[in-house]
Assembly symmetry: C2
Homo-oligomer: 387 residues x 2
């Protein structure tokens, strides 16, 4: 009884096969589509086979058929540990529990690698898809430790970071950090459909960020939302209640401004909850803006100069000017290094705004007067005029 059997050779299944094969594991593959399973095998994800007694079966089908496939696997391989990668966990577990009794049920351990790409299918697979991504594993007190260890070993073999969560907790959490944000981004983007070009042309980085994930696949997301419907509905109803209050406040009756300010302030609080780099607490970084012509090699020269200064870049963000060939790069560094960065880049002829230089010069430690933000990935830039 050896090896991992992967059922479903789409993006996740094929990526898993590639990663496990590379790590020296024996992987067999199956897919309802002969073409898809052959493609995955040709890419090096494993061998197409109907194994006698796999140690672990990983169901990587779309979420809406994960339940039946898990049930089938539990029946077909009575000694195997069975797991899956569906992004909803309670509904899948219930589907299994309705059809499989204990002790066989204990052989199923749900998991959810929080990894994906904008492309789908075996052709988009990557051996490093799971590298450094969270991999949620759902076990309970009845889960045999040796089977749990098998699932954890797979996740760790492909470079993921294992997190143990209760299925209900998982579903409630992803509804809030992933599923509801998808709906919100899509609904906001939908409002741009009928706009005249001259209006959409006023879009700035704020809109781009809010609506980036609105480009996601409707087919996949319909399955995800349907599979986690009650939890998603709970979050969306909370948003709707707040939205109702904001819309009502836009009548500008007495007390309205307090409601508007309260909504934005509540968003500040929620925003502050998002963890920073490497899962640590949000850290303060100093942001330095550098302007440059949009020509080959500009960015290379900039980062070569930053490297010469011995300064580690915590985050980088590019912005592009509308209508002209000029770009800017925001570089986040530790506040204590901001002064050296501004001075060093200016000395090397880079166009760093003078006020950044003054701010850093006033405070050689660079801590308090240089722009800081909460996390390397959540710096704020408004397109609105500010006093």
């Amino acid at each position: 009884m050896t090896g991992v059997h992967v059922i479903g050779t789409g993006l996740l299944g094929t990526s898993l096969g590639l990663a496990l094969t590379r790590a020296g594991w024996t992987v067999t593959l199956a897919d309802a589509s002969p073409t898809a399973q052959r493609l995955a095998a040709d890419m090096g994800a494993g061998t197409v086979s109907d194994p006698e007694a796999p140690a672990v079966v990983v169901v990587c089908t779309p979420p809406d058929v994960a339940g039946p496939m898990i049930v089938d696997a539990l029946r077909r391989w009575p000694d195997a540990t069975v797991t899956d990668v569906a992004s909803v966990k309670s509904a899948v577990f219930e589907a299994v529990r309705r059809n499989v009794g204990r002790p066989d049920l204990d052989r199923y351990i749900g998991s959810h690698p929080m990894a994906g790409r904008e492309r789908s299918g075996a052709i988009a697979a990557r051996a490093d898809l799971f590298t450094a991504r969270p991999w949620v594993v759902c076990s309970d007190e009845d889960t045999p430790p040796e089977r749990l260890a098998q699932v954890v070993a797979i996740a760790e073999a492909v470079g993921a970071v294992v997190t143990h969560l209760d299925p209900d907790f998982h579903d409630a959490s992803v509804a809030r950090v992933s599923h509801a944000p998808q709906v919100v981004a899509s609904l906001m983007a939908a409002q741009l459909r009928q706009m005249p070009d001259e209006g959409v042309a006023l879009a700035g980085q704020g809109l781009r960020d809010v609506t980036r994930i609105a480009a996601s696949d409707p087919g996949l997301w319909t399955q995800i939302l349907a599979g986690n419907a009650p939890e998603v509905a709970t979050v969306l109803k909370g948003i709707r209640a707040d939205l109702d209050a904001v819309i009502e406040a836009l009548d500008l009756r007495d007390g309205a401004l307090r409601t508007l300010a309260g909504a934005i302030a509540a968003g500040n609080e929620g925003h502050d909850r998002i963890p920073g780099k490497h899962g640590q607490a949000p850290a303060k970084y100093a942001d330095i803006t550098v302007y440059m012509d949009d020509e080959p090699g500009s960015l290379a020269r900039l980062f070569a100069d930053v490297g010469d200064l011995g300064i580690n870049v915590e985050d980088v963000r590019m912005d592009h000017a509308p209508g002209i060939m000029l770009g800017s790069v925001d570089i986040s560094v530790l506040p204590a290094q901001a002064h050296a960065l501004v001075e060093g880049l200016t000395a090397r002829g880079w166009w760093v705004p003078e006020s950044e230089l003054e701010a850093a010069a006033e405070d050689p430690a660079g801590g308090s007067t240089t722009a800081t933000h909460d996390s390397p990935l959540v710096g704020t830039t408004t397109e609105e005029g500010q006093r």
Copy 2:
């Protein structure tokens, strides 16, 4: 009759003074706060003065007092052209029109530079704040051409890109591309407030992007939302109608899936409307992911190598691994350069996923099998499992 008089020396007024002074213009400054106006003058934004006959007065106060200040300026300097920088235009114009008749009213030309920072006040001012940003100018058939030319000259002197728009069109547009997105981001972020840490820890880049602007200032945004209340309400009601439909569809009755898929698909369409780099039509770029240790100089070495390859970087995005010191950088390049980039970086020892290399190798032109997205700033990465 010469010079520009800036009323209100906050972020925008001081930045404007700095930029115009640098461009050789004569700038005088005034602010209700003696400290603020002195600080702006000390920073080099102009001289504190009560000018006899300024050619142009720019009202840079907070939006809720812009109307009265414009009226005051029109009365006080009967030959001056008066403009402002408030982010709402119809309400300000109405406030002026109620108090000033023609022909004096024709001396007011509203404008809105679409620029800002996460920090406020004179200390945050930058001479390049307006560089390459849109600057909306609102004129009509009664606007004297020579006065319009004065306002345009100011915008161009500070490096902005002038766009002529009707005030109502402006307000309806910014409600959709700026004000409603702010509300949506804030309401989404507010849902994170009460989450356990283990749940928020599952947050990925999607959530970070959707909620980035939720860190914005409540005081400023209360003024902006109140100043454009009817237009913002129109957009938010549209979103609420769609949200109601999605929430209802989460009951999963007959036809529900079509509603869910339709909402995501409508978001796809709206997302596709957002213009790409340099205001051009959305362009397709190829995204290449490179993994690296999180240590000083890594990014510098990477971009030095990219520069050696003679490849122009269209966009760059960093992502950080939760819990471990490993980062990845997504580099967007023209599809025709993707193959050379992957091969060149791999040859130089960079960890570029093998499947990226294969994809590029299969198609030397790099056009169709390498990941592409619609714009350098709106690449899609989902954290969800995909088939």
